[in-house]
Symmetry: C2
Subunit: 137 residues, 2 copies
């Protein structure tokens, strides 16, 4: 077995995901179908682990597996022109900037809250509602 390849079990351990999740992502097309040994064992390239970690982190940021697939497919090839990619990448950037703004807004509110706590002033109402309200995502 090639030193530079990973069996599904090793890959799963390296990326910190369940082995079945790897198969599931492969079925979903998020992981390219790996070559197999004569006996049918998958042999993943080493960078499959970064791909898995990317998927996990993108999920924590609120992207669905479908959206993650779109992010992962952003690259220029014979099927896709660079103008097309540029358009799609710009749309993704806009999405991401909106997410960042929302997070900044929640963060600001939380920081204000900690300052209130420092001052020991009691806060009866929930101040977090102040954030995120005047925006159209």
């Amino acid at each position: 077995m090639d030193m530079k390849s990973l069996t599904i079990g090793r890959l799963a351990k390296q990326a910190g995901v369940n082995l079945e999740t790897v198969r599931f992502y492969e079925r979903r097309g998020l992981l390219p179908k790996p070559p197999r040994t004569a006996s049918g064992y998958r042999l993943f390239p080493e960078d499959a682990a970064s791909r898995l970690r990317f998927i996990r982190r993108a999920q924590e940021l609120g992207f669905s597996l479908t959206e993650i697939g779109e992010l992962l497919s952003l690259r220029v090839s014979r099927r896709t022109t660079s103008a097309d990619i540029r358009t799609r990448a710009k749309a993704k950037i806009a999405d991401i900037e909106a997410k960042i703004r929302s997070l900044e807004s929640i963060k600001k509110t939380l920081r204000k809250l900690t300052r209130v706590c420092d001052g020991c002033a009691p806060v009866a109402e929930c101040p977090i509602l102040e954030s995120l309200d005047r925006e159209d995502a």
Copy 2:
């Protein structure tokens, strides 16, 4: 019927969510149980709509309903001391900052990608994998 109150249907429409979702969130404790008319109709205060919108936006940022409940309950009262709140708010701020960093990292990669596209250089591999890899969330 009080002018300042909303029936469940109006509230749902104002917040842009399904009526059943409102009931679901109430059951989950994300929306305070509203007073009822004599015949049992819910009468939500007007600010329930902002609360609903907050929940929706926080979900898009990758927070689960449980986490959102924690965010919404961040306030000082007789049950919770301000020191306690400060600690919890600071933890949430750290979570949020980590999310922002991850998003910035993806954004940077996407921007690099659009620049490559502008230069019309073909990109065979998927460059988005460069982002998010060297970090421990």
